[in-house]
């Protein structure tokens, strides 16, 4: 995934699309005030140092799906792990809720169900399981969409083509700031963008090797 910060307007469409897609419950005003909002995709805002009070900078942050994730190593029960597709998965039925992965993630991309937030119905997307209280949850790059796209391709006896699997946030972005594709395919658009001189990874120096690449704000800024 490549996120072009120059294009991001901070509209939060990705956040809402993610919540709807993944049955993320609204926690309510009281819980939100306590800092317990669950938002797998979160738009962080920062004051621009050069233009205080005038320019805000936005940083949409899904799970960065690290290739060397600090969160999976510390899980005592293999409830979070790097799956063969390279996605950092979470097994809700196994998680014991120790929150060690939350403490270890340098991007704070993991969220905890402090209470039973899912109170009504099974959620609107039948492809995504709802989470009970007391477990950690996180962005999965809309893994269920990959499974569905792959099944469709298999039933039509063909290979999975590029563009058939896109997470909800990338699909919803009106500014097309979020580009999704296969970084392992050197011909893909994401690979081309990832080679851009503007490309960087969050907290690259930690050696977590995230699979989300950002493009810095360059021209047109300030």
């Amino acid at each position: 995934m490549v996120i072009d910060l120059d294009r991001c307007t901070g509209c939060q469409a990705c956040v809402l699309a993610c919540k709807a897609e993944n049955n993320i419950p609204a926690v309510g005003a009281k819980e939100a005030g306590l800092g317990r909002i669950i938002s797998w995709m979160q738009v962080l805002t920062e004051e621009d140092e050069g233009h205080p009070g005038e320019v805000k900078r936005f940083l949409p942050r899904p799970c960065l799906q690290c290739d060397d994730p600090p969160c999976t190593k510390v899980c005592p029960v293999y409830a979070t792990y790097l799956n063969p597709e390279g996605i950092v998965a979470q097994i809700y039925a196994r998680c014991i809720g120790c929150r060690f992965c939350m403490a270890a993630c340098p991007y704070n991309a993991k969220y905890f169900n402090w209470r039973r937030y899912q109170t009504e119905g099974p959620g609107q997307n039948p492809d995504v399981s709802v989470r009970p209280k007391g477990v950690v949850e996180k962005c999965t790059f809309c893994h269920h969409r990959l499974q569905r796209a792959r099944e469709r391709a298999r039933s039509e006896r063909r290979e999975l083509g590029p563009g058939e699997y896109v997470p909800a946030c990338a699909e919803a972005c009106p500014a097309r700031a979020i580009v999704f594709g296969d970084l392992a395919d050197p011909g893909s658009e994401v690979s081309r963008l990832a080679r851009s001189p503007r490309a960087f990874r969050l907290q690259e120096e930690l050696g977590t090797r995230p699979k989300v690449i950002y493009l810095t704000e360059g021209e047109g800024r300030g």
């Binding site: 819980e31 306590l34 800092g35 317990r36 909002i37 962080l44 805002t45 920062e46 940083l59 942050r61 600090p70 190593k73 510390v74 899980c75 005592p76 029960v77 293999y78 409830a79 196994r94 998680c95 014991i96 809720g97 120790c98 929150r99 060690f100 939350m102 403490a103 270890a104 340098p106 991007y107 704070n108 969220y111 905890f112 169900n113 402090w114 209470r115 039973r116 009970p132 209280k133 007391g134 477990v135 950690v136 969050l202 907290q203 930690l206 977590t208």
Partner: protein
Amino acid sequence: MAEAAGTRDAVLLAPIERTGPGFYWAVGGLLVLVGWGALAYWTQFQEGLGVTGLHQPVSWGFYVTNFVFFIGISHAGTLISAILRLSKAEWRRPITRMAEVITVMVLFIGAAQILVDLGRPDRLLNIIRHGRYQSPLLWDATSISAYLTASLVYLYLPMIPDIAILRDRLDRRKLLYSVLALGWTGSARQRRVLGRAIAIMAVLVIPIAVSVHSVVSFVFSMTLQPMWHSTIFGPYFVVGAIFSGIAALIVAMIAFRAAYGLQGYLKPIHFRYLGQLLLIMSLLWFYFTFAEYLTGYYGSEPEEMRVFWAKFTGPFWPFFWGMAAANFVIPVFCLVRLGRRTVGKVLAASLSVLVGMWLERYIIVVPTLSNPRLPFGEGLYWPTWVEWGETAGSFALFALAYLLFTKLFPVISVWEIEEGREGVREVEARLLTYLPDAARPEPAAAERRG
């Protein structure tokens, strides 16, 4: 031998034979606190961790602080008692039992903190079913259970002769004492075997104890988080653990000395020696703290510095400076001269250290989580009544368990005191062998357990 020990040291057995109103008052008071803790946990179990003050990003708070603190206290015991036994320090005799009991009781309480902290305590056994050994939490589970087992054995072995005394003297609880005494008669062979077993356990328990608080520190230092990711954490935590352990031991000694009238056994000299040990640990603790913070400050990485200033001048300053005062300034002030009013000074220093070491654990756990690397803003943490209740309940449960123990078994080792009286000659002979002009000692006499 059992007969003589029983009559001469009757005061040590008195709490088991008679129970005054003070005991019931104490138990009642502690039960109220335990009940508060139980209510808090029940609420949390029903509603989820939402009833605590925890949130994103401060996902660990009081429970993890308590966990580190209680596991630290456990070093009182076994480690100090093992070191004193191995170094043949004669003044250890009235102290070792109390120290060992602290360890065993507090380890249960400490390990239970993790259970309380879990979002899904019903799935605790997943740690065994799906255990991932790469996780430092599994190292904790291994190390703490090994320590608990070893400490239980190490507590139990030196209790066997005392249990035999109780079996012979008391009319109550005959079955319990008979089973636990394992047919002890005090024969020469039994004493030799027991001496060996205690010596083996004393050696074994020291590396286990060191490993316990090292791996507790690894829970933090193995992550990449600012001011956690530090190589010094293993020894730093072990030093802090022994430090708080001695303080807890002193407080327990003074409490039982007053309650059971043990002034004849726990004399100012004992507190003086322990006070000096506490002073040394205080200086050592200060050295580690200084080294840790200076290294962070000098390198001044921006993320480290955010946490650093949050502790020094930011929202956590009362905790940080409170810790510095309680762990260093006050104890040094109290302990540097112990000529007069030894017990009072040592007690003041110990209480101060207990508060300070709890703050130290808190100041390690929370500020790092409050200051995430990405621009989320600083997350502050205020515990709710649930966390306070659980914490108070944990302390009370520890005190209650300790109190009940003293009602079943002597809190000072009767046979070891007796052995100390009988062994004065041997100790004298041993001391003489240290001197250059000493005569050749009788090997058999000098090598008997001192």
